[in-house]
Symmetry: C2
Subunit: 236 residues, 2 copies
């Protein structure tokens, strides 16, 4: 303040002046984001353990060493916090899984690594519940829509990069593959958690739904067509 006052009095342009409040604003913003992040971590762990209904704002504040009023200041309602925690978690899962899958040497191994990293994750179950919740709460829809869009875009980008690096060719364009992958992951998680399936059974069901069988058969059909050359095709 003193310096700003001095500068204003001298009339000289102040190169540091605008920087000082900007820096403080950034510091405040960073502190706010740290607190948001701490609250999201605490909320995510409690929601996974006890569900939306079994978790209170007081419990979340307690686990984050914060006041309940800080929870409502940053997130307004428990439901909005639930959706934000679920969206953040599923984006983390996707990022971590895409990094791990990048080591795969074949399309089949790549798909397998994606399936294993995503389908049994607690965070995916939370995201499924957030999607169901958003149906009743249109105010929560935009964040869900942005998250799904980002899963699709990042998934397509990762897949296209992997294909380019290894010179793979597949039936589907990367954007179609990414959308299919997440639709099937959501369907499998929804069915699997409702019927008490384990992660391994969900992964097997997801591999089947992604159509590895179809790919294998399509190859056989192509080869038969290629060698048949005029002969009527034999029995399967």
């Amino acid at each position: 303040m003193t310096r700003r006052g001095n500068n204003a009095a001298s009339g000289a342009p102040d190169r540091n002046g605008p920087r000082t409040p900007r820096h403080s604003a950034r510091a405040t913003r960073n502190a706010g984001q740290r607190m948001r992040s701490i609250l999201l971590d605490a909320a995510s762990a409690l929601f996974k353990a006890h569900g939306l209904g079994g978790t209170s704002i007081t419990a979340i504040a307690g686990a984050a060493d914060a006041f309940p009023s800080q929870v409502t200041y940053y997130f307004r309602t428990k439901e909005a916090l639930f959706v934000e925690a679920a969206c953040r978690d599923v984006l983390h899962i996707a990022e971590r899984t895409e990094k791990a899958a990048a080591r795969a040497r074949t399309p089949k191994a790549y798909a397998g690594a994606l399936v294993d990293g995503v389908v049994g994750a607690d965070g995916l179950a939370l995201f499924v519940e957030a999607l169901t919740l958003a149906r009743q709460r249109p105010d929560l829809t935009p964040q869900i829509a942005r998250t799904i869009e980002r899963l699709h875009v990042e998934g397509a980008r990762a897949y296209a990069g992997q294909m380019a690096r290894h010179g793979w060719r597949t039936h589907h364009a990367p954007d179609v593959s990414a959308r299919r992958f997440w639709t099937i992951a959501l369907g499998i998680a929804l069915e699997g958690h409702a019927t008490g399936r384990g992660a391994a059974a969900m992964a097997a069901a997801m591999r089947e739904a992604l159509g590895e069988v179809a790919a294998a058969r399509a190859k056989t059909v192509s080869l038969r067509l290629a060698t048949a050359s005029g002969r009527p095709p034999g029995k399967p």
Copy 2:
């Protein structure tokens, strides 16, 4: 009672005797099933309009011209009634849709009719919510598991019948196709209702996820392989 007493006294075998109580038991059972069905109809309409949270047992009883105690007598809890109504609805949707699709003359038209009949239906949205609910309520899991199993079995049976009638051949076995179809339908409905998509957009997304693009491309690849005969394959 009088007749049973008489027969017991005379010692003669009574051909009508066992029939009378059996008939009464059946009449009582039928009346019970009629009341269950009326309550399920009323509940289903209210749940679709107001959701699980916005519908009370009293409202359901009122809409069915029954007492609240009858609701709890037949279904115990509102959640159990919700799951039963959702399971019944989705089985009806599947049956109706498979009947309508049976008129299709090509595999593509068949898949399209199934998608259109299922994906935008209110009953599918209800079933998605029932699946989410069952995750928190293991007592509701068995009915969900039976319903999914029946969707798969009936879907595979309908598809196999259609293939046999028309002599169609496809990449997937009927049971795999039926499981994929329902997984993708659930995933699409979950995403679509959470993000406020309309029925037409959900149907388009589902057709893409089912992989019509893949089928069309696979055909092109096969034809190219078949005609290439020794030449290196040209650019796509």
